[in-house]
Amino acid sequence: MGKKIKFIQGNEVVVEAALYAGLDFYAGYPITPSTEIAEHMSVRLPKIGGKFIQMEDELASLCAIIGASLTGHKVMTATSGPGFSLMQESLGYAIMAEIPCVIVNVQRGGPSTGLPTSVAQGDVGQALWGTHGDHAIVAMTASNHQDMFSVTVDAFNIAETYRTPVILLFDEVVGHMRERIFMPEPGEIPLMERLRTSIKEGIDYHPYLPREDGRLPMSDFGGVHRYNVTGLAHDMWGFPSNNPKVVHGLLRHLIDKINNNANQLLRYKEYYLEDARTVLISYGASARSALHVVESRRRRRGERIGLLELQTLWPFPFSIVRQKCANAKYVVVVEMNMGQLLQPVRMAIDPPEKVYLANRIDGVFITPTDIRSVLRLIQGKGM
């Protein structure tokens, strides 16, 4: 006891967590169902000396936070599907120029304007391959307010550690609902601060020369080191290069720094997987319905059913999924799209035929009943 309990919306949790992580610059554009994030930011930031700006569109919002990140600030923007589509070009820029930033996508129904006030998880694939060119990305999610808080703080830590944009794929249900959260005390969740160069003024600083551990110490714009940042393929100085060796090295670095550290980036939760013959795999709001089914079936009929809740979606945790489902007879992916995570799950599991999909794509939050009816179909009459 003694911990501060709050009863707030998920979108407000994201704001509290970002501030906890040290955010002090936010740029955004209003879009349902993410708007409360911008509203709360506009109230909170100036009170702590931070900056909030409502830009002319989502294109500009991501550009602005990239600019602010370069001057040494922890930055974030938040949007939903249509806005996230507009951000794809500058998302690629942040990947290429290795700018730490956090992008929240509170998902709604799509494609296009779709269902602005309804829930969906249709941007999972876009988060991975929305921007052009070969690259790796980090995308995370959560299903309840307590986890939204810690995942959001983690997103900032990862962005700073790996100098990468991190995407938080929340959804309308978790963004808008209110529930209890125990506010973490300062220091309770470790924070990663930006790695700044120790090179002194007058000595050559190579902004894009990785250390042995792959990390790139930064120098703030406006500081003693002047360098170039570009979205063109570039050398260790940050200047454009089309030397095949340099380009190859750069792309390998961008991809390896994420994919080779997949284990460090991995967050998941598991429920009753020790004995589960049926494993549900889910994430975000869908995982709430999945967990409801798991709890009620175990309680009422002693069924050996469990849940693997993924919080890191990209890079996809192939080995964990394979390992946790090794003894399962059935694996059911529960998501609100046409199987965007079903595909990598099928790639991870042998034989892929034991993986099924329980989904909903009509803007209505997937219910325990929806999942049960799929389970009845695949488990057959005997169950």
Binding site: T117, V173, R178, E295
Partner: protein, 181 residues
């Protein structure tokens, strides 16, 4: 405690969403219970039938929406027509006499309360209609104590309006008591 699933419905401006949030927050912060609150958003929330769902329980709540409420509040005819069919058989259905004409066939304990009439007669301002309704509701359901609700209201409302809210809440509690059975 048994899990309490509530749906508040009415039209935009009646304060039904605020009432739902206040109730859920009172349960969490001042009663040590677990609660979730969700609501319909967007154009439908501005005019038309507004809806907010609240679940109160002493164990974890995963699925946050209410499919079949055991307590349903309808403050307009439109909301009543749209939602009365979802009530859990035997549940409690609260309506306002001024705004809603009920139908006989509903399998629920229907309580038609003169809430709007009371608030206009004794306070003269419709702004606290929702708080009076909340008072009646907690009196009929014993979901949370009136003190807990009042503590939440204190954090949300300027001191000058507190007395009016306290009075309305108490009037609602008293009104609800008359309709218990």
């Amino acid at each position: 405690m048994e899990r309490c699933r509530l749906v508040f419905s009415g039209s935009g401006g009646q304060g039904v969403i605020t009432a739902a949030i206040v109730l859920a927050e009172a349960a969490v912060i001042h009663e040590g219970l677990i609660s979730v609150q969700a609501q319909s958003y967007g154009p439908e929330a501005r005019g038309g039938a507004t809806r907010s769902d609240v679940i109160i329980s002493d164990s974890e709540i995963y699925f946050p929406k209410v499919n079949q409420p055991n307590v349903l509040v309808c403050l307009t005819q439109e909301a009543y027509n749209k939602f009365y069919t979802i009530i859990r058989p035997g549940g409690l259905l609260i309506t306002d006499t001024r705004f809603v004409k009920t139908v006989e066939k509903v399998d629920a304990r229907q309580r038609e309360l003169p809430m709007y009439e009371t608030v206009m007669e004794k306070i003269g301002k419709p702004i606290v209609f929702n708080i009076l309704m909340l008072g009646a509701l907690i009196s009929l359901t014993e979901a949370v104590r009136p003190e807990s609700v009042m503590k939440v209201i204190e954090t949300r409302i300027p001191p000058a309006f507190l007395e009016m809210n306290r009075k309305s809440l108490q009037m609602g509690v008293d009104l609800g008591r008359e309709f218990r059975s």
